[in-house]
């Protein structure tokens, strides 16, 4: 029988091995910290779930159809919140996106823009919603503002990446033909970025529909208000209907939005 010789193993430097060991140790330390820190009251969780499982789950799957009109109204409000917020954000994000793009402004300004956007993104929508509920009162407009501000950070980042990826040859050609800054922007840059900007804005709308459906938990309007009341009253039949409504609306909007985005790009 022939003997096979395996190819030699790639040479590994000691530094690489040390680095790997260090990374492994860091990850192990992280998990030790995590598992020592967390303690779950298993007894109570199991006891309660045994008691509730038979009540909650069947109720969840037999929706209370009588609440249909109220749920529909609130779902429509949720869509309005998401739409108004996303549209505001998609417009506000344009100047910010250009500001944060390396090929449009100088390095310092771009870095500043990137930091601004990332700081903006780091506030979760619900935290923003809490602030706006205190500011403008517990109504849907607080939700619109929260969605608008959070989405501006997300969209601004995506926009700046789009602007950075454009074909700069067109811009250069226009520059050498004597076009001024405004002309370059309108005829060289914007036609290149419009489809992707639109596509991202529509994609953001999908995400914002999901986000705005929970804003009501802190009082910022939409279907979340009903979620809060249903869970406080332990009205799981109504929660079933709300859940069904959210699933249907989100699915439909995802479907339409995917269709539109495929046509645009």
């Amino acid at each position: 029988m022939e003997t096979y010789t395996l190819p030699p193993k790639p040479h590994r430097s000691t530094w690489k091995i040390v680095k790997r060991v260090l990374i492994a140790l860091a990850i192990i330390a992280l998990y030790v910290w995590t598992f020592l820190g967390i303690d779950i009251d298993w007894g109570r969780a199991i006891e309660r779930s045994v008691k509730n499982f038979g009540i909650l789950i069947p109720k969840l799957f037999s929706p209370e159809w009588a609440a249909m009109s109220e749920v529909a109204l609130k779902i429509v409000e949720t869509i309005f919140i998401a739409f108004a917020g996303t549209l505001m954000a998609s417009i506000l994000a344009v100047p910010l996106g250009f500001l944060a793009a390396k090929n449009m402004t100088n390095r310092g300004v771009a870095t500043f823009g990137k930091w601004l956007l990332s700081a903006n993104r780091s506030f979760p929508e619900l935290i923003l919603a809490i602030l706006f509920v205190v500011a403008v009162g517990p109504n849907a407009f607080a939700g619109v503002l929260a969605i608008a501000i959070h989405s501006t950070g997300m969209l601004g980042k995506l926009y700046s990446e789009v602007v950075e990826s454009i074909d700069m040859k067109v811009v250069e050609a226009m520059e050498s033909n004597g076009a001024n800054k405004i002309q370059i922007l309108f005829f060289g840059v914007i036609p290149q970025v419009i489809p992707e900007f639109l596509s991202y804005a529509i994609y953001r709308f999908e995400i914002d529909i999901r986000a705005s459906s929970v804003l009501g938990i802190v009082g910022a309007g939409g279907i979340g208000t009903m979620i809060m009341f249903a869970s406080m009253n332990r009205n799981w039949n109504q929660m079933g209907l709300i859940l069904l409504a959210i699933i249907i609306v989100v699915t439909i909007i995802d479907f339409i939005s995917a269709k539109i985005r495929r046509r645009i790009v």
């Binding site: 992280l30 998990y31 820190g37 409000e77 739409f83 700081a119 780091s122 935290i127 929660m239 699933i247």
Partner: protein
Amino acid sequence: MTKENVTDMNKVPSMYPTKTKAQVTIIFFAILAFYLFSMYWTQQQMVGGFGNAFGNMKQVIEKFFPPNISVVKAIWPAMAQTIQMAIIATTIAAILTVPLALLSAQNITTFKPLYLVSRTFLNILRTIPDLVLAVIFVGLFGVGIFPGILALIIFSLGILAKLISETIEAVDMDPLEAMRASGGGKLQVIFYGLVPQILPQVTSFILYVFEINIRASVVLGLVGAGGIGLILDRELQFYNYPNAMAIIILIFIVVIVIEYISNKIREALI
């Protein structure tokens, strides 16, 4: 340049055909109309209208500032718990996602009905917002961190399985076929042909989902599912705005730091 030439230049034909222009105009006005109606609808319950809101905003900012930084020490354990919840949830989701991702990848699961069922299941799972899951689990298991972790697991499972299954569908199938041809079993093909190809992307996705989970876990407490949100909710109910602001600032810093680290690792991976 003669006068004739100037007028000629002004009559440059437009870049876009008339039909597109008409379509775009109609779409633009439809969007504008829908926007104005949404704005009207969302503002109709507002007391005092828009002008009042700005005055309010100033008052609110005064209420929230200066934040009471001295509470940070007292709330740190809750913040740590929030991060731990996100770590555990991401880990468990990453393990559970493996079979789901394989089942919903068209090139691995060649049995079509199975693929369709798991795809549909994932699509439905992804439509449910994390907080709604948390509300239901709190109803089921009572207030605490366990429902929060469970909600995070289910929510990240939907995202992860979709992202990973798409990566699997995009892999180079040639090495896998070669292995199959030389007698590799299904599991061997997956381990030696598929895993090395997708590992960097999968790690990057797991970190991405971890970022999402951190951001989600800070608000889970608002519905009673553990973590820092619980304390934030309590402080807000007591109208203790300087304390609430300190918590918000702490959340902000933690989210930024974790996002920064995770971004650096992801850049190094791909």
